[in-house]
């Protein structure tokens, strides 16, 4: 039953199951009155797709990313990651799923100080039980893939913003996840550096990765093959441009 690739188990996943499927997601936060951040969102991301999620602030982008990444549970509706229904999983199982199938890139890079770039990237496999030596080897590979093969031994404080985000991306792809989720990855960077980060993500996409990028930058969104725009917790439009 177990697929040998990547260690992720696709127990009941058909070979053609989408990388991510959201079915009628509603997310309410308690309050007076309760805030409905997501209102019946359904979305399907196939393997190998690269999707931009855009929308003004408060439109529910970040909430959507948290739910896509199983960091938060929806009030109702189902999230299927790689064909696995996450609603029936325990908190520990969700952690394991994140550790094996999903990679995260955040606006503020969350690199641990006091560790080199290589160690930070290797941390991406810390909770998978992979031995340190192997982790470091894979971390070196991942840093090569984001074009930082020459900065392995540097501390986060010695890296520029763009370099830091590349390290964070390397950490997010070290375990070759089914799905890479990026939450405003260029939010803290100037436009030239931003373009570099987007190029890195495009390169990963070209190599087969499935990527969802949340952004408020219309130019970036327009440059990606598919664009989902959110407004007041609803999908307003879902556009795909033909390749090329």
């Amino acid at each position: 039953m177990t697929a040998p690739s990547g260690g992720v188990l696709r127990a009941d996943a058909a070979a053609d199951a989408p990388a991510l499927e959201l079915q009628h997601i509603v997310k309410e936060f308690p309050g007076q009155p309760p805030v409905r951040a997501l209102d019946d969102v359904s979305l399907r991301v196939d393997e190998g797709e690269m999707v931009a999620v855009v929308g003004p602030s408060g439109s529910g982008k970040s909430t959507l990313l948290h739910i896509m990444g199983t960091l938060d549970r929806p009030s109702s509706g189902r999230v299927l990651v790689d064909g696995v229904d996450t609603s029936i999983l325990s908190d520990a199982e969700l952690s394991a799923l994140r550790g094996r199938s999903i990679g995260f890139v955040f606006q503020s890079f969350f690199l641990l100080p006091g560790m080199t770039a290589l160690e930070n990237v290797a941390n991406g496999l810390m909770y998978s039980g992979v031995a340190v030596g192997e982790r470091r080897r894979l971390a070196g590979d991942a840093l090569e893939r984001v074009g930082l093969g020459h900065r392995l031994g540097h501390a986060p404080s010695e890296l520029s913003g763009g370099e830091s985000q590349r390290v964070a991306i390397a950490r997010a792809i070290i375990h070759r996840p089914t799905l890479l989720l990026a939450d405003e990855p260029t939010g803290n960077l100037d436009s030239a550096t931003s373009q570099g980060i987007i190029d890195v993500l495009r390169g990963l996409h070209a190599a087969g990765a499935t990527i969802v990028v949340i952004t408020h930058d219309a130019d970036i969104a327009m440059s990606l093959p598919r664009q989902v725009s959110l407004l007041d917790g609803r999908v307003q439009s879902d556009l795909r441009w033909p390749r090329g």
């Binding site: 188990l9 952690s95 955040f106 031995a131 950490r171």
Partner: protein, 401 residues
């Protein structure tokens, strides 16, 4: 879809538990060291107090063992009857016939005074008494000669005097070269010996001693003993103590008092023990305060590292892994303090005991107990911050910046 999908669980290797547990300490070294200092002080004082008390007690017990706990002193009790209570002349012989008695020596107080020379006004005796003694006294009391000779001096028929340690000092005599004499009972008497202090009979340190035969001849001495020193078979001390009054004075046993001078030293040992309890209490308070310090630093650390917690949750850490990480950190902090405290405690014990010339004893129980106490404090101090870190939802943690 009824089949539950199998997700291979997250796994944190033991080395990685340590790696995660030290990640906070490496970047916040000063804070880590400072928070460990509190526990170190507590453990150091516990180990130091226990070590020093053991070392000093062993010294006292050595002293008691050296002097023997089997010495009894027989004297006439005071205040009973007409005040003329005295031990019978035949008391010494009676006591020596008791089967459990090993050595007996008696002294008799003389009605005489001793002065440095004949010019000192009468009555200024400086608290020095004059007694008659025999040559067995030194052996019975485990005494020692500082200068000159004891037995030969007391066996003389003509008066020569041996001075107790304090008496010699007060008279200003520190050697027994020929010709050193004191004015004793209206005549010059040659000093032929000076004694070391007695551990169990301090009043003899303030005495000038003359042989019995010379005392009878020159100073109107009689054989009525003032004090009788009795060495007893170690296994029969209290039984012997009970029979001595009736042995000494069958008619009036209630007029005979028997004391055991080693009781005083044992009381001193007990008193030091009571003092230790106080210091142990202070050490325990320091330990608790140190634990609170660690808990405080941990709580702050958890608040500051919300982002790290969120990140770890996103790369596969379960709540248990987060709890483990912060508990490990707290345990390491307290353990570090504990080890440093034990080292300081041992060094202080060794230094002070060495200075005092005591045997250096560090009770293994104190070391083990100190380390265990530190770890226990670490667990208690880390529990709340770790739970708090683990309870944080990933989204809440990631929202921090």
């Amino acid at each position: 879809m009824a089949d539950r999908p199998h997700i291979e669980p997250s796994r944190l290797r033991f080395g990685d538990v340590l790696r995660a547990g030290t990640s906070g300490l490496r970047t916040r070294t000063v804070r880590a060291v400072l928070s460990a200092v509190g526990v170190a002080i507590g453990i150091a004082s516990l180990v130091g107090v226990l070590g020093l008390s053991e070392s000093s007690k062993s010294d006292l017990l050595d002293q008691i063992a050296r002097l023997g706990t089997n010495l009894l002193i027989v004297e006439a009790s005071e205040g009973f009857g007409a005040g003329n209570a005295a031990l019978p002349v035949e008391a010494v012989g009676m006591v020596s016939r008791v089967g459990t008695v090993e050595n007996v020596s008696a002294i008799s107080r003389l009605d005489a005074a001793v002065y440095r020379n004949d010019l000192v006004p009468e009555g200024e005796t400086r608290g020095i008494s004059v007694i008659a003694a025999d040559e067995t006294l030194l052996e019975t009391l485990n005494g020692a000669v500082a200068a000159g000779n004891f037995e030969r001096a007391l066996a003389n028929d003509y008066p020569t005097v041996v001075l107790g340690a304090v008496a010699a000092q007060r008279l200003g005599i520190d050697n027994v070269t020929t010709g050193v004499a004191v004015w004793l009972g209206e005549q010059w008497v040659e000093v032929t010996g000076i004694l070391e202090p007695f551990a169990l009979a301090a009043d003899l340190d303030r005495a000038a001693m003359i042989g019995y035969s010379a005392a009878a001849e020159y100073f109107d001495g009689d054989d009525v003993p003032t004090s009788i020193y009795v060495r007893v078979d170690t296994d029969w001390v209290s039984q012997t103590r009970d029979v001595l009054p009736a042995t000494v004075d069958p008619q009036n046993p209630e007029e005979v008092a028997v004391s055991r001078p080693s009781d005083a030293l044992e009381a001193q040992a007990a008193a030091e023990q009571a003092f230790n309890t106080l210091f142990l209490g202070l050490g325990a308070v320091a330990l608790i305060v140190g634990g609170i310090g660690i808990a405080n630093v941990m709580v702050i650390g958890v608040m500051e590292r919300r982002g790290e917690i969120g990140l770890r949750r996103s790369i596969g850490a379960t709540r248990r892994h987060i709890r483990q990480q912060f508990l490990t950190e707290s345990l390491l902090l307290a353990g570090l303090g504990g080890v440093a405290g034990v080292v300081v405690g041992v060094v202080v014990t060794a230094g002070y005991a060495g200075l005092q010339g005591w045997r250096i004893i560090v009770p293994p129980l104190a070391v083990a107990g100190g380390l265990l106490a530190a770890l226990a404090i670490g667990v208690v101090a880390g529990l709340y911050p770790a739970m708090r870190a683990a309870r944080m939802s990933p989204t809440e943690a990631l929202r921090s910046e």
